[in-house]
């Protein structure tokens, strides 16, 4: 299992390094969205719950771009068949893809979060950083679990890029809700306030429950 996951993950990262299909597009999309928010809200800087809402909506939509492309290579170039022929646990594909998506998201956030701090965020981001990293990590895991599952469902449909956001956005409402609530006090006008632990717990619970469900049902999306 660990070998298979490692090999699949290396394959995905090598593919991304060579083609540069997802990460640059996702990062560029985030930057453009911040500019759009600047003009759409007509604000020079944002803080508090508005700031956390802008950040999470942007990251969520950027993640949807990555989710849309997650299984394209497998579907178009016979990667699914190759994988099904290999004598490995099928859940390995799920774990590897979720980890790849997580890596993509983290790369995007390394660009997007500093850009957000420079372009839009009012209060200084420094003191908020440790809490923000924790929230980002937990929310990313939830987005990756749901994203991978939705991508695997949608890749075999005729309307892939329509089905992905329609399925993923409602499923991710609790993640956005909890992440935005957890980040809002970090961006407070008068400096970062304490991280609300109940929302961290909610995110962790969500990750755990949907991780387990995805682990259980992913097999059925590959059988052929």
């Amino acid at each position: 299992m660990r070998h298979a996951v490692g090999a699949l993950l290396r394959k995905d990262l090598a593919l991304e390094l060579r083609t540069r299909e997802s990460i640059p597009a996702m990062a560029l999309f985030s930057l453009t969205t911040f500019v759009i928010f600047h003009f759409g809200l007509d604000r020079r800087s944002v803080e508090g719950d508005l700031a956390s809402g802008v950040l999470w909506v942007t990251l969520l939509f950027a993640a949807i771009l990555g989710v849309n492309r997650l299984f394209v290579a497998e579907a178009e170039q016979g990667g699914f068949d190759g994988f099904l022929l290999a004598p490995v646990d099928r859940t390995a594909l799920f774990v590897a893809k979720a980890l790849a998506l997580l890596a993509f998201l983290l790369c995007v956030e390394v660009v997007a979060v500093p850009a957000f701090a420079v372009l839009l965020l009012g209060p200084a981001p420094g003191p908020a950083l440790p809490g923000l990293v924790a929230v980002l990590l937990l929310a990313d895991v939830g987005i990756c679990v749901i994203g991978t599952l939705v991508a695997a469902i949608a890749i075999r449909t005729r309307a892939r890029d329509l089905i992905v956001p329609l399925l993923a956005l409602p499923l991710l409402v609790p993640v956005v809700l909890a992440a935005a609530q957890a980040t809002a006090p970090l961006f407070a006008q008068g400096g970062a306030e304490a991280l609300p632990l109940r929302w961290i717990a909610t995110l962790a619970l969500y990750d755990g429950i949907f991780g387990a469900i995805a682990f259980a049902v992913f097999d059925f999306l590959l059988e052929d």
């Binding site: 469902i153 449909t157 956005l169 609530q181 909610t202 949907f210 049902v217 059925f220 999306l221």
Partner: protein, 241 residues
């Protein structure tokens, strides 16, 4: 075989529902604050509970389908989701009417039940398009079941998260259900809930019976006329056996 017991079930449903409405209008007292409009509660809340129960039950049927590979479980799950979506539309509409009458606005973000319902409704609204966009029958059934399991588990989590957010920001000003009800209102509510559950069961059984009749007619025609004479089955979101 699916039509068996449908008639007594339908008659019981009609009786209990009529009884429930009679209780609502002639027996249950008017609410001291809200007056007559509070009676929409006896339609709105049972519909909501039954719709959610239907979604969760459809998830359990989908688990059965994935475990056994029996296409009939997929059909059952499909019909349950289909009916629950219809009920969910009813819940949203009655909820909006109630909100307008008692708070003066058609939509109230402070009411976590209504907001959660909207999210759940938006999720399940993708169920039919998802089925429709997968051509292979067997794969359509399998993917739909995966969706039903995922969404069925999502329903309670979503409710918990949204309720938590509202309870955290705004103090809850009123309780929609449960302990606060005086006795005669509670009895009326329970009868209405039973009526709505029976209605769901009847419609579920009825649609299953109708679908089975269609399948059997098609199979018989195929045997009588031969494969070529029949118009090909149109692509559809509904499962066929």
């Amino acid at each position: 075989m699916y039509g068996k017991g449908l008639r007594p079930l339908a008659i019981t449903t009609a009786l209990v529902l009529t009884g429930a409405f009679a209780l609502v209008f002639f027996w249950a007292p008017n609410d001291a604050d809200q007056g007559l409009i509070q009676k929409i509660f006896y339609v709105h809340v049972p519909m909501g509970i039954v719709a959610l129960g239907g979604f969760v039950a459809a998830g359990i049927m989908a688990v059965q389908h994935l475990r056994t590979g029996d296409a009939r479980w997929d059909l059952r799950s499909y019909v349950a989701i289909h009916l629950s979506i219809v009920l969910a539309v009813g819940v949203l509409i009655t909820g909006m009417i109630w909100a307008k009458a008692s708070w003066g606005a058609w939509w109230v973000w402070e009411e976590p039940m209504l907001v959660s319902f909207l999210v759940v409704f938006l999720l399940y609204a993708t169920y039919q398009p998802l089925r429709f966009s997968i051509e292979d029958r067997e794969r359509q059934a399998r993917y739909a079941s995966v969706f039903a399991v995922l969404a069925g588990a999502f329903v309670p989590i979503n409710f918990a998260a949204i309720r938590m957010a509202e309870a955290y920001i705004h103090p809850r000003t009123f309780a929609t259900t449960g302990g606060g009800l005086p006795g005669d209102m509670l009895i009326t509510f329970l009868v209405a809930l039973a009526g709505m559950t029976l209605l769901f069961a009847t419609l579920w059984k009825y649609e299953l019976a109708s679908k089975h009749a269609t399948f059997q007619v098609r199979a018989l025609r195929r045997r009588l006329l031969g494969e070529d004479e029949l118009a090909p089955v149109r692509r559809s979101a509904a499962p066929t056996l």
